[in-house]
Amino acid sequence: MDMNQYLSMFIDESNDHLQSLNENMLLLEQTPNDLSIVQIIFRSAHTLKGMAATMGFEDLASLTHQMENVLDLVRNEKLAMQDFIFDTLFKGLDALEAMVEDITQGGEGKADVSAIVADLQAIVRGEAPSSGSAKSAGSAPAKQETNTAIQLDEFQYSVLQQSIGEGHRVLYIDVAIRDDCQLKAVRAYMVFDLLEKSGEVIKSHPTVQDIEQEKFEKSFSLYYITQKDPAELKQQILNVSEIDQASVVELDHESLQQMAEMGAASAQSAAAVAEETKPDTAAPAAAAPAAESKDNKPAAAAKPAAKTGGAPARTIRVDIERLDVLMNLFSELLIDRVRLEQLASEVQNHALTETVEHMSRVSSDLQNIVLKLRMVPVDTVFSRFPRMVRDLAKSLDKKLELVITGAETELDRTVIDEIGDPLVHLLRNAVDHGIESPQDRVAAGKPETGTVHLRAFHSGNHVFIEIEEDGRGIYRDNVLKSALKKGIVTEEEAKGMSDEQVHQLLFAPGFSTAEKISDVSGRGVGLDVVKAKITSLGGQVTIYSTPGKGTNFSVQLPLTLSIIAAMLVKMGSEKYAIPLSSIVETGIVKKEQIRQVHGNKMVDFRGSMIPLISLSRIFEVPDFNEEDESETEIIVIHKGDRLAALAVDEFIGQNEIVLKNLGKYLPQIKGISGATILGDGQVALILDPNVFIK
């Protein structure tokens, strides 16, 4: 049987579940008494177990099963969450991640998890007050009973009756899977998964466990509580592949009673025994979960509904390479569009102009969509940080809180792929070097718990990611002392440096101020690599720090790497493009306004003198020299806070341009970052304005 087509689905979904497990565990650690979170965790773990068992990854399934046992006790309030339980569960999660990773790499997903399993079992045995009576009440989750006919015990029956009374819909659902289906259990799972998104499965036949192990013919039935419309639900079930039939019947008090009686009639002594064992405890036990399910249902069920307006989120996974091809094709189209616009304006044909204008509008919509397709929320990178910071803080004996804001901010896929490692470095740095030990913090009059803010936000054509902590800050003298010792700066240079320049020293290769080398950071490799990586992505890092108060590492990144807005300028017969993101203003200066300061040309810009740079001289432009003109067009550019003016011949206008590289043969050229193709088919070079500001 060909499992491959299911394998990639399995890997994707496992990763999703592991991610959600991690997130919710952290959430639970903050609020250990919130049982609704336990429910969500339990559900994720349960689905994961089912998928793993179906795919034949036994170790994965058994470990998940043990974790599930612990969680089951917690959610039934048999066990209070404690630190060591969290640690063990986290260890379990790590092992699961490692196994899934192994499967992704083509491995068997096998691992020795006996130690963790033993720990988990110890928790289940030792910590839970497991006596006979507790257990029989604990069997309340209906899924774990194995009966031959779909029959309801008194507890389930009363839950269903209550739900009807409270205005929920109780449905009896019958699902048949196509005969030729290869993996019945997977399909059944997809149905369960779908149902659990918007309600609760009370009882199924065969039991969930049997379905997981494919111990069923081709159909299964279940009782289900939801708010959804039966017809809509039926349609959703039928939308799952390889589902042959689905019948959804809404039950009221009477029909439920009838069905229960039918079930009870076919059931034998088992039901009677069940009834005997819970004489009085049944009522309160039933009431509690029912109340609880009322509480968490709006939270769990309303969320997806609100997001997608009733239907579950419909997504497909697409190979990134295909998106890249789409992007390339689109850039070709963009070049042709600009060309068409130019031709149309020359021809002056009304109908043609109109059509071209319409095409331009459509293609700019298309451009937005193509670019959006490649956008991914930074959350995909951020989501692994809370866990990392927690572990770091534990290993360093520090207390700290990570506050993430703006995780929904979107960035180009290529940037996202590259930005993870630099951010890890910066975070580790913040935790290790920035935040002081709890004693030091108290001594400095700060709260014992340090705070690390991780922020992402849009600003213009850029996305900023900031890592700010309220730690010890950067002391100028310490940095300079260390830099002098390592020979990075000379004494004379050090005297004249601004604070900002001193901060930038942290990014110098071979620099590390940590007195003690820890295994977390402080090897002196790192920050220079971080800077190199961010610069290669077209971004910048700036450090703001107040000694004793804290430090802020601000990373500025371009929104996208493939299409940018640029200003086209002319220099004699040559055309150049300047990225709009670095342009502050354009203007004209008269020859007599240009002053000579120390042999450098300066112009007045809003009250301050800024250098005037001659592009024609730097690029040895043959047929233009601004010195021959009485008035010079200037473009004021910025790099951080510093400004400079570029002298050009003529402005052409603003345009969306597609970035192209200059080919492998040419070496890096200072001041030129790439090329683009203009509407007339000619190549124009793109300036890298950052180079002109020292």
Partner: protein, 153 residues
């Protein structure tokens, strides 16, 4: 007997040169060239070849031959070596011939002013035609260029 290869024949001045056909992507008429500042002196600039930006070398400049005006015979031969795509400006390119490898002989020290290491060999075709086979990877080698440039300075 060695294998037969197909060779693109082009001219620089009166000499005839050959490049194996599988190294050649296309042959184009002159296209508008955008000058690239601050690079090797023999790099004329970059062209737009159907959406791809490709650097163009004046082969005369590369071999230190005197440069001439472009005519309507002037062609750009786009060659692909490894991952590099480069255009060569040549005086004309108008022939494809079959050649047996055995007919390629080791070149003398200098042929038509070009150093021997840029050549694969020389082949005699017909009675009085000499075809100079180029060694593309040597021609495009960058360490070579850097040395050359520093000598000029």
């Amino acid at each position: 007997m060695g294998e037969d290869i197909k060779v693109i024949v082009f001219k620089l001045g009166s000499e005839e040169y050959g490049i194996e056909v599988d190294k050649v992507q296309t042959i184009e008429r002159m296209l508008p060239i955008t000058r690239v500042p601050k690079t090797y002196t023999f790099v004329r600039g970059v062209i737009n070849l159907r959406g791809v930006v490709i650097p163009v070398i004046d082969l005369r400049g590369r071999f230190g031959l005197p440069e001439t005006e472009h005519t309507d015979q002037t062609r750009i031969i786009i060659v692909v070596v490894g991952e590099m795509e480069v255009g060569f400006i040549v005086d004309s390119a108008n022939d494809v011939i079959d050649l047996n490898r055995d007919r390629i002989e080791t070149p003398p020290e200098v042929v038509g002013g070009i150093k021997a290491r840029y050549l694969d060999g020389v082949a005699k075709i017909g009675d009085d035609r000499l075809l100079i086979m180029l060694n593309l990877s040597e021609v495009l080698k960058k360490s070579e260029i850097i040395q050359l440039e520093s000598l000029e300075e």
